[in-house]
Symmetry: C2
Subunit: 482 residues, 2 copies
Amino acid sequence: MGGGLKQALKGALRPLVRHLAPPRQDLPLSWWRLERDAAGALRLDGVALEGLLARWGSPVHVVDSVRLHDNAARFLVRPGVAGPPLEVYASYKTNPVPGVLARLHRAGFGAEVVSPYELWLALHLGVAPERIVYNGPAKSEASLELALSRGVGLVNVNTRSELAPLAAVARRLGVRPRVGVRVTVPGTWGGQFGERVDTGAALAAFREAAGLPELRLVALHAHLGGELADAAGLEAFLSGVLGMADQVRERLGVELEILDLGGNLACPTTRKLAPRDHRLAVTFGAEPAPRPPGSVLSIEAYLAAVAGRVGGHYARLGRPAPRVFLEPGRSVTANAQLLLTRVAQVRDEEAGLTWAVLDAGINVAESVRAEWHQLLPLLDPPGAARRRYRLTGPSCMQGDLLYPSWSLPPLSPGDGLAIMDAGAYFVPFSTDFSFPRPPIVVVGEGPERLLRRGESFEDLVALDAAEPPAAAGRVDAGLNGA
Amino acid sequence: MGGGLKQALKGALRPLVRHLAPPRQDLPLSWWRLERDAAGALRLDGVALEGLLARWGSPVHVVDSVRLHDNAARFLVRPGVAGPPLEVYASYKTNPVPGVLARLHRAGFGAEVVSPYELWLALHLGVAPERIVYNGPAKSEASLELALSRGVGLVNVNTRSELAPLAAVARRLGVRPRVGVRVTVPGTWGGQFGERVDTGAALAAFREAAGLPELRLVALHAHLGGELADAAGLEAFLSGVLGMADQVRERLGVELEILDLGGNLACPTTRKLAPRDHRLAVTFGAEPAPRPPGSVLSIEAYLAAVAGRVGGHYARLGRPAPRVFLEPGRSVTANAQLLLTRVAQVRDEEAGLTWAVLDAGINVAESVRAEWHQLLPLLDPPGAARRRYRLTGPSCMQGDLLYPSWSLPPLSPGDGLAIMDAGAYFVPFSTDFSFPRPPIVVVGEGPERLLRRGESFEDLVALDAAEPPAAAGRVDAGLNGA
């Protein structure tokens, strides 16, 4: 009865709240090098996105090469402050598409890999072994043998328990690998990652590493975890890291050559959605707002803060600063890729909300369930009306809900939409759930080109053993009744 | 400060609660045809699971052919009550592995498909077109052309808006397809699926369908949504469906030939985890309990209830009962498959909880985050101690947490574990996130055989365009500092 009353109350309030909810404030199109022509058609660097969909089919990923190179170049500009060299490694897991990674490598990025496959991929792409950092909590013995025999630049152990097996591989191969220890400074992720600074576990791991003659202990590795969006969070993290490096020098007499500061820098045009955002959108149709992109630490501010803080710390100590490794992912690739999709079905439902089914759902855009991503209609004629939509993916699963509430011009089946900032975690989290995975094209280098073709139906069963034909041809088969 | 106090309190309570928490009550191994030998090694139908891991590598999916056939056979036994024929269609999306589907088809199941790919797959596997039901909210025009030209047995429109485009395809091809309308009865999922009974939208859709000369309106289609676990839920659902069928006959004069009752029957040895289960496990190490499998509607009870309720309804009306279609997924395949994995890393952390990293995580077992799945050590020597573990997957992502708290014998790297009931939604939700997807073998038909080989590293870049070698070979590249 209480539940029924609550439902009735929500039902009565819903149209009112939906009516009163302020319109969503969209970010300027220039954040993505987009513009609309006089008819309202969306263009990226002069290319009509509707044309891309027509030529490559729907859905399709579009990599903006100009933005990707621009982001990479910004990471490789020397910050205008005194400080140590900053060396940049591409986080493979964030966007493992060879066409994306190869462009970052050609720009000057090394490779940060976290699995045997990613290690193989970096070598396959021609990255010089000394420009590879091998991280991760599940390095196989075979992959360690590959890494050490090829002379990978740095192997960071995730926990102390990796040290002895790593030393055993080194002894067997007769090499002395360059090794770092991942630590967890207070206020950052712990869990399965790193040895804790506050309990003394990190120092114990460094002590053990320093005592193993098979290993060359050169690095301290740390990740903020989560998302790095402001200067205060960065300062706390850097303080923790520098304090730990001081401990290693003072307590163990080890002068570290490298501080590997991991990744986590935010994308300015996305944000994590709180459970409350989702609830309000589902129940009352409230449209979540973006965060002000200007409030997010920029690449330049990040580099300047790192160089300044690390440089200042060692200048005060009167010691040479270590090299600094950075492992950016999201901040390099997220806003350099977008996902184009078409409306598959539209229908009315409930007061003030219209349901639309897209041909892209959680199978290719899982991140949209947890993060704010701008959604743009490919055609938005001047003066077009607005209607509030609930947008789902194409699969037969109630949870395939991408946008619980989003105002758009009136939609019809076939209309195109762009999901922005699709360059981080969209492709690696993609599944074959009922639909094959889409192609990836690159624009901004002359005529668009295919980086990865879409999966064919045949591709999805290419690894399967042949089966005798089904016997379900008999119409009476499967009848269990009279 | 409040947060700090809360943390401190939790920290103080944790060891106490962990100590007091009752041991987890495991389900008997016989639920999965498992047993342990005298040394404590886990065997499936006489085959040592550790041997399977050793022969096929880790992780590996294992399909139990005997259980799969047994489940299928149970669905095809005529229930011991008077009633209409029940015809059974395999839900492709639940487990789209050709080796699994072909076995169900050979047993007598038809195919229930929800996407152009699944339609293609059913035809590819040799299913007779008249034994295919085509559902889903995103049927492409090309797939409708294929379905109609091949003479698919039933096309269920998800919403009224599909009717006109379907009729247009039928007109063009000069065929008259057999069509159903998906409805949403009160108390079940609505959202993007079906036309609502309570608003009159469903009747309006039937009226439109009945008026289209290009279509043969033969079916009413409905899903309970969520999970069907008890007789009361089934009765409410069936009442709604039968009431709607009566409306269609009384108001429109249309005698439906088919009631398609969808799927949703639960797996007895899993359950949905509540957010509370997760919180208690994360914060206090409380181990979530299974539900009593005997409390879940069995296949036999389900069939008897459906046949009895539908048969009784039409007997009272003095009319012949329609054919009944069932589309089971989870209840057929879930407990006929398990996922074997090995421990990659173990380390101590926090009072009373030990962290272990598995080589299978959310990349291949996403469902474990939301559902209770029995986890069994492959070796559990008699009298072995118990230790409480927090088990994560291998990826570099904090959310890759499979079991926040689970008691096991002491683990070492390399030890094997079995995640049970991996036959529903594990494979279709798998990703290539940092790791290739594992092989699938079948046991119970003589020596085990490969159904699907594991992905190679090369497979993961087989669709990618060749890239010029990376220029990151220069050690000075990527230096942006002094």
